[in-house]
Symmetry: C2
Subunit: 340 residues, 2 copies
Amino acid sequence: MKKKSVAARISTLLLLSLVVSLSLGAQNDPLPAWNDGKAKQAIVNFVHATTDRSSPNYVPPEKRFAVFDQDGTIWVEHPMYTQMLFAFDRVRELAAQHPEWKTTEPFQSVLARNQAAMEKFTSKDFEAIFTATHTGMTTQAFEAMCDDWLATATDPRWHRPYTELVYEPMLETMQYLRANGYKTYIVTGGGQDFVREYSQRVYGIAPQEVVGSAVQTEYTYDKDGQGILLRTPKVLLDNNFAGKAEDIYLFLGRHPQAAFGNSTGDRQMLEYTQAGGGAPLMMLVLHDDAEREYAYGPAAGLPATRIGEFTEALYDEAKSRGWIVISIKNDWKRIFVWEK
Amino acid sequence: MKKKSVAARISTLLLLSLVVSLSLGAQNDPLPAWNDGKAKQAIVNFVHATTDRSSPNYVPPEKRFAVFDQDGTIWVEHPMYTQMLFAFDRVRELAAQHPEWKTTEPFQSVLARNQAAMEKFTSKDFEAIFTATHTGMTTQAFEAMCDDWLATATDPRWHRPYTELVYEPMLETMQYLRANGYKTYIVTGGGQDFVREYSQRVYGIAPQEVVGSAVQTEYTYDKDGQGILLRTPKVLLDNNFAGKAEDIYLFLGRHPQAAFGNSTGDRQMLEYTQAGGGAPLMMLVLHDDAEREYAYGPAAGLPATRIGEFTEALYDEAKSRGWIVISIKNDWKRIFVWEK
């Protein structure tokens, strides 16, 4: 092999360092799925303000906590919460053991796949469905049911497992925060035990970092004298609205520094985060992209479709308290990982 | 300066490496405050069995959790739980605002420092004292009260702050487990919010890693419209007995691999840990050293003094289930850090 001249060696080195700089340059944008704008800038500014030791709002690593609502904030919630679809499928599976369901609401409508009726379900209807499908078994049996369903169920629009309908920009935000010493928690109105089954592989969030609605379990023994936990129908934590602020304190014992939500159900969580002082970050995802995802709710100029909704009142509160609204249409370059 | 010969340099290097080996040798005993014996060996064996990749009972790092009861397991609980002493002091401070307490039980006995009466307090009496001293204020006001008391109160026997009455062998055990990828949690019958005020500095355990009894908080607003949490008298988590197993699942979503307790209140926690399978470690601290600490409870051949007690039945269960009993007298070389 021909020996290279010193000049050639130097050019090679320069070229190499250029390649390295370029790739570092790309890595320097921690949020590539975001378009430049107020929302993306707010996240970057927040990280600088709270992790730069010379900042007046510096937060020591052990106090860095960021909380994320799940449905509609870090994954798709429309047209129905994913866990609700799991519950409906469970009703269909259990129907053979409950012949009376064929003529009893709300089960009758679920079995008949009566979409119009299901959209009008009251909270009492949902309670009946959750009690029938989410309680009365051991915690381990319930976890196995969740795993089985998650492994096979697919969304009818994108034909993918529900666990792939997660928002790339929010995954990037979580990763960016974790890379800067933040602990990321999910604080969901959904069932804590359902979300814990996939939180690590889907979001990089460990089960103990998931705070959600929870039923009271009851400690008892199996036939071999081993301790087991039964899921009772008693609601222990209703992790919505004020419950989110109360349960954040129950699990963390402190105010988070950042909170991400998308509905009135997240209002108190964002308020409580802000009340901790410093330079906190409060963000709300607005679903205004009917083409790439969905558009719904009053803040998108569309009718309300459920209780936890991005209402006009929430929009007003966001403005008056300085919360940042994320427009999916304008702020997100890519929505899903698989769009890359 | 005289230039060293090659031989001198080599001797220096050899000496240095000897010093390094010796100090590494000392570090190789992760539990120097323990006497050699079955208890110490069980901890070391457990760590090897669950962290050595070639072991049949290897546990991946994300599933390594160890839970510790607090009172009587990692710090002194005799003759009274520390948090009870805090509550009694709060009664005395609040007495001026409650002239009726001078003639109302259980407050009357607390104010009169009637030790005999206090030792006979029922759970209803304790509930009245906790409601009067631990509820009705914001979470922040309560935390400040805890901090003030912890900074000034001292134990009458050793004349030290209560937060120094922690067991060196158990601190070593926690550190050893953490050094091997374990997350260490406190699972206490005491108040979660009280313990969280000092858990980091005393045990190296972060507030979010403390699971304890907890009252329901209520989200509301201060006069400036900032979100605050009020402590209501409603008990949300009674983290004793079966509550410990239930709350471990609530917070962690899984079985721990190791559990340390000292009373019937820890029984279900140890059982639940064992039910997770693998090569779990369950240990109970027996207070049998009247000279260096205290001796109490039926397992020490002494009368029962309170509800959560090391009873004969617990001793039998420990034997039948293969739990390890730690004798303070025989297994602990040093009890307190300041004895060094």
